[in-house]
């Protein structure tokens, strides 16, 4: 039985961002998953979840990139593509704006031995979402 309410459609889009962030997903793709126009979708998403869909998708990617920087020795370029971003320049800029240091500096500051996460499973992932966000929805075009 379908439970049709706006938030449920928005959640479908948010789940898509979480599930397929490593693909070249755009806000248009998310809007399609929610069966809404891009403009209406962005407004509704922000109203439900407190941030734009572009920011949500980007922070998911950056959070995963940070995890890969900490736990693997893959190159910054490789990690950039592995999280669905297509420009190393924009990746480095967004990452630095969010984490306060470049990907390379971040890796140096978080050696693998620093894994002390004692909290339970998935909540770590949820709480690992970076909080410093100054992205503007308009910059989505740059990434898509």
């Amino acid at each position: 039985m379908a439970f049709a309410r706006t938030e449920r459609h928005l959640l479908k889009a948010r789940d898509l961002a979480d599930a397929r962030y490593f693909e070249p997903l755009s806000v248009e793709d998310l809007a399609r998953a929610a069966s809404m126009s891009r403009a209406h979708f962005s407004r509704a998403f922000r109203s439900a979840f407190g941030e734009s869909p572009h920011a949500y998708l980007l922070t998911r990617r950056l959070e995963r990139a940070a995890s890969l920087l900490r736990s693997t020795d893959r190159s910054v370029t490789e990690i950039c593509f592995a999280v669905g971003l297509q420009s190393v320049g924009s990746f480095t800029t967004s990452f630095t704006r969010t984490y306060g240091m470049s990907p390379t500096a971040y890796r140096a500051a978080h050696p693998p031995a620093a894994h002390h996460a004692g909290r339970h499973a998935g909540e770590v992932r949820a709480y690992a979402r970076p909080k410093r966000r100054t992205f503007r929805e308009d910059s989505a075009a740059v990434h898509s």
Binding site: M1, R8, L11, D15, A117, H120, A121
Partner: protein, 140 residues
């Protein structure tokens, strides 16, 4: 004291029952309807082999148990995916991931290596968040 069951709100108990048993492979532990309590239905499920703890799939009550405004708030939180979560663990998350997918379970996160283990996310038809994790870190 021991945990016997914990509760998830569901929009439709039959739909939830189908998902948790046919798709996730859990078993029904109790399915009791009490006519003397307004047809209240106590419905619990648990994974095969786990006898001492279950998930109660609870319908959202209407008045007088829950007033209309509260019911709407609960429904809104469920629709946003923030009304509850269950953490499941397994010995081989990649094998489970493949098997569950073949049964039509949609994952919100593919298996990913995390500091504490290999983690996946999924969502039940009511919007509840489930995680299935192969824990590799002691004490988590």
């Amino acid at each position: 004291m021991r945990i016997s069951a914990t509760q998830l709100w569901v929009h439709d108990q039959d739909e939830a029952l189908e998902y948790y048993t046919k798709k996730l492979g859990m078993e029904v532990r109790s399915d009791v309807t009490l006519p003397e309590m307004g047809n209240f239905r106590w419905l619990t499920v648990a994974p095969p082999g786990q006898e001492d703890a279950a998930i109660t799939l609870m319908a959202i009550p209407g008045p007088p148990v829950m007033d209309e405004e509260t019911r709407q708030q609960v429904e809104a939180l469920m629709a946003k995916g923030f009304a509850g979560a269950v953490f499941l663990t397994t010995d081989d998350v990649r094998a489970d991931y493949e098997e569950l997918r073949s049964r039509g379970v949609e994952f919100t996160e593919e298996p990913e290596e995390r500091p504490y283990g290999i983690d996946t996310g999924l969502r039940d038809p009511s919007g509840n968040h489930l995680r299935l994790t192969q824990v590799t870190m002691a004490g988590v």
